[in-house]
Assembly symmetry: C2
Homo-oligomer: 424 residues x 2
């Protein structure tokens, strides 16, 4: 853009504004703000709603009536299924939760704040000031938990193979008030990268100064391949055990984007020490989570292979959505922007010229397309370069997505031209 004269830029701008106004006049109402599955994806799982019908259907493999009270940490067949999905070495290393892994993560942090963690000397809240490392860009809801709980967030760049591990190693080794790190290790939200085996091993070998340091390994997209060439993620818990670090890892997953968001099943995996510690406190909070929904999931999927077959069906629906957005980005703005092209997950991470992201999101909003608020993928909602936009292409139908991507490209170019003009 720097090569254009002011006059040229003004002419480009006026053409873009005309285009933009045509889109605006369509009166669109599209949403690319959150990683929500589409109706077609939800339809895949809908037969699950009918697998439990009779009283006999509600009896688990031990003969227990799942309609009644009891079973704090999940019915045995659910523990087996999730152990397989999470590559856990034993069902003693797993807890089946409610409908939300976010809630499980929140509860674990709150528990650590109030009671501390297994092997810790005191509650996190007894420390003057505690900190979490936040690979950026990252998942806004992770950051909101920290911000709300008054946990200071330290940004760490998320590189192509995971967080900047030189920085992570140095920080955790030096600072005892760093109690945790947020990780979305596979098909990271939003950049779509997967941590390399080298990165996972460096996590496993961390020597944090805080003995009560925990890695929050939110493996939300562990099953969510959209390519035949799916990324490989090493099992961080098993790796960590090799270095005596088994108690340092909390792994999370859910079926929110496998079965139903909001009516899925969440699970966490961790060392037996951690699980026993957590279960004791969890038993004060609840008698147990929804066992009928656990049973519904197990009966429907049958086994891990059943889940994987389901994920292929999701991928078939999602692929054309990623394709159309990537195609249009390539056609329209490859000269001024870059983006991720992940092998799985729910997002495309778009990097626009510095200082333009907020403006693009505003322009999109005014044209009737809701995007994730700019800055949301950074701690405290502040994107220091104001250049990251998270695109969530799964929910809208392909035709709408095409329109939305086209508007997005017009908005990116408009913001870039406005910026160039402001610098003339």
């Amino acid at each position: 853009m720097q090569n254009y004269s002011k006059q040229e830029l003004l002419e480009i701008k006026s053409e873009l504004v005309a285009k933009y106004n045509r889109y605006k006049s369509l009166g669109l109402s599209l949403d690319m703000s959150r990683g929500n599955p589409s109706k077609e994806q939800l339809d895949i799982s809908t037969p699950m709603l009918s697998v439990l019908k009779t009283a006999e259907d509600c009896i688990d493999e031990t003969g227990f009536d799942c309609r009644n009270y009891g079973v704090l940490d999940g019915i045995p067949e659910a523990k087996k299924l999730f152990s397989e999905l999470m590559n856990t070495s034993s069902v003693d290393e797993i807890i089946i939760g409610g409908n939300s892994s976010l809630n499980m993560m929140y509860d674990n942090i709150v528990r650590a704040m109030i009671f501390g963690v297994y092997g810790g000397e005191k509650p996190w809240s007894s420390c003057e000031n505690i900190k979490f490392l936040c690979p950026v860009p990252g998942y806004d809801r992770h950051f909101r938990i920290c911000e709300t709980l008054g946990i200071e967030m330290i940004s760490v760049p998320l590189l192509a193979d995971g967080p900047d591990m030189d920085m992570v190693e140095k920080l955790v080794a030096e600072d005892e008030t760093i109690k945790g790190i947020w990780c979305v290790p596979k098909y990271s939200n939003p950049t779509g990268i997967t941590y390399s085996s080298e990165t996972v091993r460096r996590f496993a070998m961390l020597r944090p100064k805080a003995k009560d340091f925990r890695v929050f390994w939110d493996n939300a997209y562990s099953l969510h391949d959209i390519s035949g060439r799916s990324d490989i993620l090493l099992n961080v818990l098993e790796e960590a055990k090799k270095y005596g670090n088994g108690d340092m890892i909390y792994k999370f997953m859910s079926t929110s984007k496998v079965s139903f968001p909001g009516a899925g099943v969440a699970a966490m995996a961790a060392s037996k020490n951690n699980i026993d510690f957590i279960k004791k406190l969890m038993g004060v909070q609840t008698i147990g989570y929804d066992k009928l929904n656990q049973l519904r999931h197990v009966r429907y999927f049958k086994d891990a292979e059943g889940v994987r077959r389901q994920m292929q069906r999701h991928a078939e629906i999602i692929k054309p959505k990623f394709a159309i957005v990537l195609y249009i980005l390539e056609k329209e703005i490859s000269d001024i922007a870059t983006w991720s092209n992940p092998n799985g997950g729910y997002f495309i991470s778009l990097t626009v010229p510095d200082g333009c992201a907020k403006r693009v999101v505003t322009l999109m909003k005014e044209a009737g397309v809701k995007m994730t608020p700019s800055g949301a993928t950074f701690p405290y909602g502040v994107d220091p370069k104001d250049n990251n936009i998270r695109i969530a292409p799964t929910h809208p139908p392909v035709a709408e997505l095409q329109t939305a991507a086209e508007i997005l490209c017009v908005c990116v170019r408009m913001a870039a031209v406005e910026k160039a003009l402001s610098e003339k």
Copy 2:
């Protein structure tokens, strides 16, 4: 028993031991420890499992697809149903939760510990030492929350018309560190009494020194009549509003003993100030609870009248169970024990001679009948008189219950004779 000579007591004892051993030899395995519904009760609700079948079934009254993410505080039709069940003046005064009201109560206390409550000056955990009033005997899981969180518990006698309000009024007016009180206002767990209108009004008019004092009104048995003459409970939230105390009340309920324990729906009602404050923090913890299960409940019950009809069916199943236990108690131990005969709820509260409760529960256990641990209904698990036994008659079939009640009477008499002997 005091009138008997030692010799007579020894003879009575030896007869009782013979009886006891006959029961013991039956190799029983009965459970009267928890308020669990029976299989027949669970069967009533089982058709609910089939009401959501198709994608179209999952659309709520606003057109929202309940299979997807969203809706933090409950779908509109669930808010309407629970507002009616909780006599809430508006749907702005309600939050629909997950599967457990215990979990909702725990979350609210934890939230108060970390963030404080609406209108409070600071988090409860910032206070040196905080306290809860605990009407006794009461619900063990309430007390366990306090004990685990380090909240000091002060016992208040639960009288025939509710907690000793003279004591409650005096304590909360004097002590700023008293932040809450546990109440099971209707068919109290375990004594089965219902707070009188006078008691409810005195709650509504409380003038606690702590501005961040909250009444935890766990109306777990609000719908659980077993008699045509059901007890009447005044609406404490509406009463409290009359005295400017609307923000002081948190009401809770769930369908755990209406539909399915563990797969029911919980809800809380409170002033709009409280609800708005809580929702803001709850939005950090979760995207939303299980909306499909909310919808399942609304579609099955249709309205509050549907719930009430269902409760009549529960009552028909429960009545003979209360009847057989009460009949046997009356026949066998009316000379040495007293008990409650509630119009609803899940428990009979048995008062045995002082110092005998623990022994009775041990004898029962050895005979193969699991009872609630003695002391469980008191803070810190200590029944100061060691005379309260909670009987949960709903789960076992009537025939087993008869046997269990008979053994119970033998055990009570044995313990009483042992005590009399020890005093000779």
